[in-house]
Amino acid sequence: MNWRHSITVRLSAAFALLTMLVFAVLGIYLDRSADNHMAELDAHELMGKLALVRHVGSQEDSPAGLAARLSDALVGEHGVIVTVDHGNTPVFSWPEQAPRELAQAAVAVGETPVRLQINGSDFRVVAGPLLTGWGESVRVVVARDIAHHTDFLTQLQRDFGLALLAACLLTAFLGVLIVRRGLRPVRAIAQAAGRISAGKLAERIVDREVPPELVEMVQAFNAMLERLEESFTRLSDFSADLAHELRTPIHNLRMQTEVTLNRSRDVDEYRDLLASNLEEYERLAKIIADMLFLAKAEHGLLVPHCENVAVQPLCARLLEYYGLLAENIDIRLSGDAINVAGDKLMLERAIGNLLVNAIHHTPENGSVVIVLSLTDGIAQIAIRNSGPVIPAEVMTQIFDRFVRLDPASEGSGLGLAISRSIARAHQGEITVGVVDGMTEFALHLPGNAAPA
């Protein structure tokens, strides 16, 4: 299996990626808002402490009084550092061992909380001036050790990372299950396709049981089967027909040769046999040549040798020739002078076949007419006969091989099929119908008006 192209792998990976993305965005948002929230809490506390120190400082009238009252007020506060300095002289500091570096580091700090790092610990710091009750101008610095906040955030991030990893794995795993389940109809189609073989081309996939997304594919698949079955049937019919057609002359050859050889005969009888054999060989050769012609046409190998063919003289010539077969038939040529771009020999053959058929199916005193016309660049060569009308159910298959209207007919049953393949090789078509009560076979070929 090609993993790079596996739908399961790709979709599961996409699910996992999506989960990761969602979790990452969410994590970043949570981290930011927790951080902000804590900074806000710290700021609130620091500003409160600063206000407290200012309030006490402005009321007390000695540094000792200030220290006593502030110490009382700050009892129980952990992680809070308060220093009051007069210039470089400390006036008060809480706790008593508070790092001296704090006041120096906070020189530039104002009443907006600022993060500072002192002796490796993180602090949030505010500072401000104060005029004490005893008349001295001092500077107050309030700082909060925020180690437990950063610890909390780090912990949060780590937990979140683990959750993200777990979620990714879980979605990937669930993705595999879901995709497998989702692809079940495809597997069903594959199984149905697997059941189809040359002998069972009639099998179809029922599109009612298929998800709507796959209906189009299934229909295309069924249509392909339809076409395959059709060609296959045609091909096997073709072989069967061919075998049948070849069997008769071969059977004749064998019978007459066997019977003749059965006992000694005079020379004339042998001559007769050879002559009869020759007739059968000719029939065989003709069938084979015609079948080859049709096979070539079906594979698009029939390439007309194109020239401008004047249809009227060609039809006149055909009429003169085949007219010999139509002693008591009124046979006429009418219509416009037209040219067809095509292979003269092939056109002669196509029209000739139609003409012979028309004459064969026309009773005595009937008529056969060739009508030539030109509409929109399409030349029409219509051959009409007053013979019996062809039943509608036969008309649809009349151009197929070996279809004979008259079972006793001497013809190969390939004439109309050949005429059709010639028409198609010329980018034209052949039609059959009834016009004015006459049966009409018509060739429609790209053509133009012949110069007068």
């Binding site: 002559a275 009869s276 007739e279 060989y281 040549a289 390439v303 003169e320 077969l325 000739g352 076949n353």
Partner: protein, 223 residues
Amino acid sequence: MKILIVEDEAKTGDYLKQGLAEAGFTADLVRNGLDGMHEGLSGEFDLLILDVNLPGLDGWQVLKALRAAGRDFPVLFLTARDQVEDRVKGLELGADDYLVKPFAFSELLARVRTLLRRGRAREATSLGLADLELDVLKRRASRAGQRIDLTAKEFALLELFLRRQGEVLSRSFIASQVWDMNFDSDTNVIDVAVRRLRAKLDDDFSPKLIHTLRGMGYVMECR
């Protein structure tokens, strides 16, 4: 008349040679293109019958080489594939006629005779057999001094028979020569045409001049 046959298929070659010999020709048979080219270049022949599909050197190459060397005897080529390109190619390379396999031997014979006749002195304008006479220029036919009225095609058919006295003419050859119909149809048009000609020519006279050869065609001769 000496004919060279270049044909690799054993039976076809042998029967071609036998048939032509029995028709009064001297026929040499070679079975591949190289020998064919060698013979064609060194020997004196009046006609070449050339199969296209040959082992080694194919028919086209042989034909090209012979024409390039200035050999201008008529060439009739045989092909198993009835394809327009083959037809055109052969004629472009300088062949004079072609036949598609399988063909009737009588057809081949008729074409061979046509090719050999070509280019010779003007054909006779007055033809005859027994008491039948034909004036080609005046378009007049008579038998035992009695005028016979013929249509244009009947006249052409009779002229063909007379020019080819004693030769078996196949139906397809007659169709192509008289009506310019060049494909085999399943019909018996030629039989009808010959029957009509016979009615005018033979029915009221003796001896009969047009004879049917079953499976092969017709021949005109005084038996």
